[in-house]
Amino acid sequence: MTRVPARLARPLADTMPPLTGLAAVILDRAALGSLAPDAPDTDLTLAVAFYWALYRPEIMGPPLLFLLGLLSDALAGLPLGFTALTLLALGLLVRGGARWLPAQPPPLIWAAFAVVAVSVALLRWLLASLYFAWPFAPGPLLLQLGLTLLLYPPIAWLLDRLRRSAPETDHARTP
């Protein structure tokens, strides 16, 4: 991927996390695939939020995670604050590893994502079951989790390419 001029690099690097986060929310909510009630779907927002919370925590911080969550809830027709809370939990979980995890090999980062995704899915299931007072079958959630885990490496690769095309000059991080 071609590099952008140095004077544009920083603003571009800073806008990438919100823009890709927004795109992930839109793609998650657009009727792209099957609309069947049991059709498997992915959680792109979770993968994108995890990536940026790890590599650009100062941008993908709690306020942006909160806003992306609110937008996602509004578009999905879920109670407002539902996804916002789970994304904030993701931010808190990732914060501990944001110093040392980016320097680790990709399989380890993937494993860390799996741990975070499982924790977030559990939180979502608990919240939904309490809110709707309905014992949701864990099957669809596990399927979504599995698909999201499978999808993380290509998403991370794509975001890596994007990030390297406009590296943030002040505190460039190397994975």
Partner: protein, 323 residues
């Protein structure tokens, strides 16, 4: 040039002149540490405030405040164009694939359609005969004729909830095209669901498979009434059937029109299985090909004034809430 290290040991104590400078440095360091701690505290407080705000919003959403619903629909209104644009490339690929498939299957499709036309011709003549008979009988009984052709508004499905807890569809039409809450949404195959929220340019549809969906229906030729209840699986279940129901496999399920919200006679699905005292229905709608739908503006049936006054008169039981 390499300089020989001096043999003289430097005095560890600085001269008295440097003491104020060191004190100032120390004070600055302390100030910086204090500032850092305060900054960390502020960040932690901010995160805590956002978590509290999200939790509060969830609790407030449970109360079902109109303002929150309005905010949700405003966000959907704003995003509907983007959702439609995101769908465009995939829709083009799907259309192309469907065209190629249709071309390849043209011969067999033609034969199937001919057979279908023959069958429908027979049905049409029967329907005309029955309609004439129905009109004549209604006239005899002095019953008002039912206008069963609601106004249709075509809209496109541009979004879905896509989460394991709720899968509400988003349409690219709202109040601007006359849509309102409660309207039935159908496609060529049958009932899709009904509208549960309307914005200016978008509307949200609860599919009949949603766990909150309850559709009053009639089953098969027996006409057994029941309620089709969604449970987030592809096959909703029939409930509140009469005692000793005469439901058989393959029976057609149609809307009954009870409650006056949905028009009667809309095809819903077919009885697929009867197991564990549950009647499982397979909807006619092919969810994988759901693209354009029609929203029916059904005026509903209001009870005649005379009946209403009788129902509220003393001695007459009040009708219970419709399921």
């Amino acid at each position: 040039m390499y300089a020989e290290p001096s043999a003289a040991v430097p005095d560890p104590l600085p001269p008295d002149d440097d003491l104020p400078v060191r004190a100032e440095r120390r004070a600055r360091r302390r100030l910086r540490a204090l500032w850092r701690s305060l900054w960390q505290l502020a960040l932690a407080l901010r995160t805590a405030a956002l978590v509290a705000a999200a939790a509060l919003l969830i609790v407030v959403s449970k109360v079902d405040i109109q303002l929150l619903r309005t905010v949700q629909m405003m966000a959907t209104d704003a995003a509907v164009a983007v959702l439609a644009a995101a769908k465009m490339p995939l829709a083009a690929v799907r259309t192309a694939a469907r065209e190629v498939g249709a071309l390849l299957a043209a011969r067999s499709e033609n034969a199937r359609l001919r057979a279908e036309v023959e069958r429908l011709r027979e049905w049409r003549s029967r329907a005309i005969r029955l309609e004439v008979e129905n009109r004549a009988l209604r006239r005899l009984l002095a019953m008002p004729l039912l206008e069963t052709r609601p106004r249709r508004t075509v809209a496109r499905v541009v979004g879905d909830g896509a989460n394991p807890f709720a899968r509400l569809l988003v349409l690219d039409a709202g109040r601007n095209r006359g849509l309102a809450r409660g309207m039935a949404v159908v496609n060529a195959e049958g009932l899709v669901g009904r509208i549960v929220a309307v914005g200016e340019r978008s509307a949200r549809v609860m599919p009949l498979t949603d766990r909150d969906s309850r559709i009053p229906v009639l089953v098969g030729s027996s006409g057994d009434p029941g309620v089709l209840e969604g449970d987030n699986t592809p096959n909703p279940k029939l409930r509140f059937l009469p005692l000793n129901p005469r439901v058989r496999l393959g029976d057609e399920v149609l809307t009954s029109g009870r409650g006056g919200l949905l028009p009667p006679g809309l095809p819903v699905g077919r009885v697929r299985a009867v197991r564990d005292r549950q009647v499982v229905v397979e909807p006619y709608v092919d969810w994988t090909r759901l693209d354009y739908v029609a929203v029916l503006d059904y005026p509903g049936v209001t009870p005649p004034a005379a009946d209403r006054s009788r129902a509220t008169a003393p001695g007459h039981p009040q009708p219970g809430p419709h399921p």
